[in-house]
Assembly symmetry: C2
Homo-oligomer: 475 residues x 2
């Protein structure tokens, strides 16, 4: 990147908010995916006006630009594939308004999810989507990928809570879209288009979010099964009852073992377990505890243990959240990688899906751990492999293709909540083949110089196991 341009950017944001140090650029080349690429400069803007000016510079010089939150994305969203400018939004982290009586709040994109909910909790409200990385991830990142989490069945995803956005467009203009009201039909719902657009259409600088009252009571069941497919069938039976729990998490034996090895949560060493959460009015919770127990037992559970004790529930949830990091300690040489990590299927198809994943793992000689938000059909898998071995990656890629083919066959989607970026790009392109031309037309219309997070989603070409963060041995 031209040094005059770097100076121009430093002039806008202040030298103290920019870095071009090799070590910093290396670090900002990562997110939580398997991919890596260094940017040319990292900027921490403090205001929308600064973002606007920097984007204008980028657009004038046709320099790639990418806004990142906490870098918890699992598919490469925050990896600056075409180098250029990374905007770290962490300093735009103010909660601007909390208007619980009007059921909304206004935040900057760098606000941490958990911090927002801590503020809202003071008034007995919350922002319901519950991403696994909620303790560290930012609201801006959640909007960029339409994040959700385990409570989507009852509370929906981020897209359902975005009432309005302020966005710096690729030409540097500042756009406001949406409202502070619960409903609006005033022109195109551009805010809903920007949700999930993964930084390819603009930089989000302010977010109006709907908020909801905190439920008064909550209970959590740990349900053990001697068969993964039976656990999947139980999820289906619960919802078909009908019963809308606030969450159902599924965890297979690979994941249970990994968590039990890594921490003292004491999950039963069974083939599969469910964590079933119900919330709401205390009387209703009490009634639903009985109902869940009955349905689980009828569905062949070997044990059902309910708790309303805060510490026990927190321990179990911590165990569930520990699946992802724990899997990397599964075997000495192995790491857990996110490839086919975020499929969603109609809930009734869960038994077929988990069975298919097991068969695909066996066939391709890889270890696959299955867990996820079963209540909304969102299954995560992690592949355990030796990252130095080309053979493992190739087997992994074959397994990924098998898993995505199976998911689309079952009427599902390749990503329920993590997004596309690099790791899922070719499979999203298959899933959305009839919509790609429209996506590209919108992208070209809004970003003719293709500066916003280029080379991903519709634009990605090639294998998902390129641009790897690991040094893979040559054969």
């Amino acid at each position: 990147m031209d040094s005059a341009v770097i100076e121009e950017i430093k002039g806008i944001a202040g030298e103290e908010n920019c870095t071009t140090k090799t070590a910093d650029l290396y670090v900002y080349g990562f997110d939580a995916s398997v991919h890596h690429e260094n940017p040319d400069i990292v900027v921490m803007p403090k205001t929308t006006e600064q973002v606007s000016k920097i984007v204008k510079v980028a657009n004038r010089h046709k320099i790639p630009i990418l806004a990142r939150g906490a870098g918890t994305g699992l598919c490469g969203h925050a990896v600056p594939l075409k180098k250029g400018i990374v905007l770290d939004m962490c300093k735009m982290n103010n909660i601007k308004e909390v208007q619980v009586e009007d059921l909304y709040c206004v935040v900057e994109p760098g606000v941490i999810y958990a911090k927002l909910n801590k503020e809202l909790a003071k008034k007995n409200f919350f922002f319901p989507p519950t991403p696994g990385s909620g303790d560290v991830c930012t609201i801006g990142g959640m909007v960029a990928v339409n994040a959700s989490g385990m409570r989507a069945i009852k509370y929906g995803a981020t897209r359902d809570y975005v009432l309005g956005l302020e966005v710096v467009l690729p030409n540097g203009e500042i756009m406001e879209t949406g409202t502070r009201t619960l409903k609006n039909s005033s022109g195109y719902q551009l805010d809903r288009l920007f949700v999930g657009s993964e930084g390819t259409l603009g930089v989000i600088t302010k977010i109006n979010l709907r908020v909801a009252p905190l439920p008064k009571a909550r209970a959590l069941a740990l349900v053990a099964f001697d068969d993964l497919v039976k656990a999947g069938q139980c999820v289906s039976n619960l919802i078909a009852h009908p019963l809308i729990p606030s969450a159902i998490e599924i965890i297979d034996n690979v994941c249970i073992k990994a968590v039990n090895n890594a921490m003292k949560v004491g999950f039963p060493d069974v083939e599969a377990m469910l964590l079933v959460e119900v919330d709401g009015h205390p009387n209703v919770v009490e009634e639903e505890i009985k109902l869940v127990s009955e349905i689980c037992e009828k569905s062949g559970a070997v044990n059902v243990e309910f708790s309303t004790d805060k510490d026990t529930m927190a321990k179990w949830i911590a165990g569930r959240k520990a699946v992802l990091p724990s899997l990397s300690r599964y075997g000495e040489k192995f790491v857990s990688v996110s490839l086919a990590d975020d499929m969603a299927v109609p809930m009734s198809q869960i038994p077929k899906a988990v069975k298919a994943f097991q068969e695909i793992a066996k066939k391709n000689n890889v270890i696959v751990g299955t867990y996820g938000h079963a209540a909304d059909g969102n299954l995560h898998t992690k592949m355990l492999l030796d990252p130095k071995s080309k053979k493992y990656w190739e087997n992994g890629e074959k397994a990924v293709k098998g898993i995505f083919d199976a998911v689309l066959e079952l009427g599902g989607t390749v990503t329920g909540e993590h997004g596309v970026a690099i790791s899922k790009a070719p499979y999203m392109q298959t899933e959305r083949s009839s919509a790609l031309a429209t996506m590209k037309a919108i992208k070209s219309a809004l970003d003719p110089n293709n500066i916003m997070n280029p080379g991903k989603m519709m634009d990605w070409e090639g294998s998902i196991i390129s641009n790897l963060r690991y040094e893979v041995e040559k054969e």
Copy 2:
């Protein structure tokens, strides 16, 4: 329109599904708005393939094309302003799938809202948005304008229920977007962009909708006030408690009088009344009845009457629904017209909003009836005027501007659920001034020949009291 083109269209859809009779074209020139214009041909397609072929013809010849549902829109969506082809979607009215165990259904756009809910009710489910015209309006129309209704505070708007769409694009290609799963982050959320795009980006031919379990109990309160502002304040007090009712309807004295004159519903002849609905688990409903009564009394209600009797509740709701037609019987020469009919403000601003509306009516010498979905800040007004008098229309237009200015000042939107089309176009353009360029860029990218419902929303120029359905006397 060229007779060869008309023959080509008849060849695609079948002569029996097309009409060019003068009387038919005149009738299809109306919707429920104040506007009118005849189309050149009306077609009732039966399949997506027919729609695709007809759109291809329209695009080749650059002929305007407009898909309509039941024509219940209040802003001119279904009025073919630039003539051309009207597609009446009433024959594409099949419910294709009802998968309550997966919480979704798939419908064609011509399915009537009430018919869908009758089918879903057999399985104890429903599609929650509750438009006032629900007995006759179509799901396709609801998607086109992001319709909602009185239950949006608890259940959201149509945009929150659309999981996927099949759309015939302006070039005639058939696009599928979205999923049958509860969540997805797989590429741009194009389905959410098409919601509320009012037929300007394509013809919706299939809709995947999330469904919800029917609440087990429901109760309705009729709450009387001697002051409209007090009633508005009470809404605010209820929500700030916090309490999320399933609906709160507000009705002012102009509307109460109109309904009492038109039918024997026996609403109290007070300055304002609220209908407060709570639903859910029977125990919770019981508790919330007490809570609502307490808060209403504290807020200065002169009477609170709760009912759980089905017939009484149905009578009150019918009275509320009768506001719109009843207002046209207010005075001999007067009709009720929809101009500034659908504002939404943050709920805490309702008292200020209703006060402003009263002052604006007085100042401009027009009669304004105020009612609407107060729980989500969505206020309807109807203007009563002599439609033959130019003076009345001019006063009306001044009042409209005053009302919209007040609403935007209060942080609101010019339309909560009815959409823009013609009647709200200039005011939407004010509200969304920083987003207009982006809307236009998307429109041009997808519909370069501007054939889809042209001349409305971003494209409208001029006064909203042109293209009137009434013969206005010259001065």
